[in-house]
């Protein structure tokens, strides 16, 4: 981004102003996440940076809120984490299976009414969550699945499938269909062809769709708020209750753990995207 020597002074000023603005925006994007780290190590019960912390006094920092998160009395986080992982894992499996199979059909050039069907399949992503929540709540209440894990898993499968459909169709758009025909001409049956040829090639898309579905489920509050009973509490629900009622630093310890988790997801997603682009022969 170095400017050529002949740049006139006022353009030079503009250029630095532009870089400054970009810096500010990046700061605005990323800085709020980092305010959580120091506060989660706070020795006090307040959600402010204490004077001791400003002086970097070691006594002002402690792990007590992390201990509270893990060992605290009557603490809801253990059950919440168990439920969250259980629900997210099953919702991901469901979304990946349904979504991948649908994406295979959608990217076939024989698929009739592609536009309207695609619009329907993507709709859970577009319709505001509150409306999905109301609708799904009515359905689950009628079906007797309110306040059950099954109900929440089904709701999260609904929310997760659009991501899988999008990522897998994107991977399939660069897919060379002659390889499956070659497999078929060599005597492979369709299931075998899918498992041995197609799946390995579209796997990056499938996994990144799975990541999206997992994060969507893991992070989802609105629908769970409608559906969950006391036994179905999840991490986001606990955070929601905490943020509304007793804002305690324990929440920040949980938040720190969640940021670390999302960092892992980000790294995985990035690696997958690159691999997928390499497979599809997109040079960057």
């Amino acid at each position: 981004m170095a400017l050529p020597k002949y740049t006139e002074p006022h353009y030079r000023i503009w250029h630095y102003l532009y870089l400054f603005i970009c810096g500010c925006v990046f700061f605005f994007l990323i800085a709020p996440l980092f305010v959580i780290f120091p506060l989660s190590f706070n020795a006090e019960e307040f959600l402010v940076i204490t004077d001791g912390m400003k002086r970097l006094d070691p006594d002002a920092f402690s792990l007590r809120w992390y201990k509270d998160m893990v060992y605290g009395t009557k603490n809801p986080w253990g059950l919440a984490a168990k439920n969250s992982f259980f629900i997210a894992i099953f919702a991901t499996i469901g979304a990946v299976i349904l979504g991948t199979v649908a994406a295979l059909g959608l990217s076939s050039r024989y698929m009739p009414y592609k536009g309207i069907i695609m619009a329907t399949l993507i709709s859970p992503m577009i319709v505001p969550l509150i409306i999905s929540g109301v609708a799904i709540f009515f359905f689950m209440a009628k079906a007797g699945l309110a306040a059950t894990h099954t109900g929440i898993v089904i709701a999260h499968i609904i929310l997760g499938t659009p991501f899988v459909v999008i990522t897998v169709t994107a991977t399939l758009s660069g897919f060379d269909h002659s390889v499956t025909r070659a497999a078929a001409s060599l005597g492979s049956n369709p299931v075998n062809t899918f498992m041995k040829i197609t799946l390995p090639l579209i796997l990056p898309g499938v996994i990144s769709g799975a990541l999206f579905a997992f994060v969507t489920s893991f992070d989802e509050v609105v629908i769970v708020l409608f559906l969950a009973g006391l036994d179905n509490t999840t991490i986001p629900i606990q955070m929601w209750t905490g943020l509304r009622e007793q804002l305690s630093p324990t929440i920040l310890s949980v938040a720190t753990c969640l940021i670390l988790l999302s960092t892992l997801v980000l790294i995985a997603a990035e690696l997958l995207r690159r691999r997928s682009e390499r497979i599809r022969g997109i040079n960057r």
Partner: protein
Amino acid sequence: MSSETQKILTTDGIPLEVSLKKVERKNKFKAFLLVAPLLFFLLIVYISPIVGMLFNSVDDRMVTNALPKTFKAMEDWDGKELPPEKVFDAFHFDFQKLIEEEREGKLSTQLNYEKNGFKSIIKKLRRKSKSFEEGNYKEQIMAVHERWADVEYWRAIKRRAPAYTYSKYLKGVDMYQNEDGKLVQVEEDRRIYKKLWVRTLKIAFYVTLFCFLMAYPIAHLLATLPMKYSNLLMICVLLPFWTSLLVRTASWMILLQQQGVVNDFLVWIGVVANDKRLEMMYNETGTYIAMTQILLPFMVLPLYSVMKTISPSLVRAGKSLGGTPFITFWKVYFPLTIPGIGAGSLLVFILAIGYYITPELVGGASGTLISNQIAYHMKYTLDWSFASAMGLMLLVGVLAVYWVYNKLVGIDNIKLG
């Protein structure tokens, strides 16, 4: 020519055209079969409940079934003066039956939606009606509370007679149907929903605008920087994108509170006095700031993917033809980014208009949106039909934007990450 093609036969003796069509039908069916599980799954557990909301929003059989005789007796009452004796008799009969079945509470909730003040007088009537004497119910009921002698309240009951009503939709835009069947607005100081719709649109619009203004320069920087730097900076966009919504909202709550980091900083540099710390949370400001930061990645990513495809040589060509950097940007570069601007803006707008979590936590009373009102009616007033009606009105708006998005960008072009 066409008769010529028809004569071409396959080895089975079937015309080629027929045979090809058959194969195509078979292929179409195969493709559809793959989509079918997900399609039917969504139709059953998702699309049909949304359509069911439509039914919920107009369904008013609860009240109709609760007071069958009353409504029958009311049929030839013109609503100008107090209803005749037989309406009171019928009402007494229906009401006693409701008390027996313990359903009068539900009725009072429903009637209270129609007109405030029903809850207490129904409770009172329930208590007093135990000691009612046979006959002359009109006087006895009217003696329970003055509101029972007020014709307005009887009109309110009559308005709930039809089994299906669109009154919830009217309520959603602060209107109601008066005694003459005309649509009128509610009193000025009670018009809350219209204000809420306007505020929702306003906040969604400004959040989209702020996102655009902030995303454009950084997307440009990301698209023009060499790969090794831009990858690093991309993390600043992607990490918030992958981080839990609640975590990000929590961090804004910490930053924006009165004793929070932002206020501390402003006091420290001397912009605001210590005793006059800014109120940035539990109001509109909080909603704007938090929503802009949370939705920003959804604007950056589509813009980035469009800008990435614009060849730098176009800008160089513009400059070499004598354009100043500003003119080249405005005449060459900017028009090429319009698809990205459209995609990003529509996406952010769609997401912003239905936002619930963040406004609920940082919005306070002045920064909440229509979604919050829907949730409030679902959870607290339990007026589900009203919540459904508002939800569907919001949905129509979102689907309109979605339709535009589909026309302009194409849903298969949505990019993730």
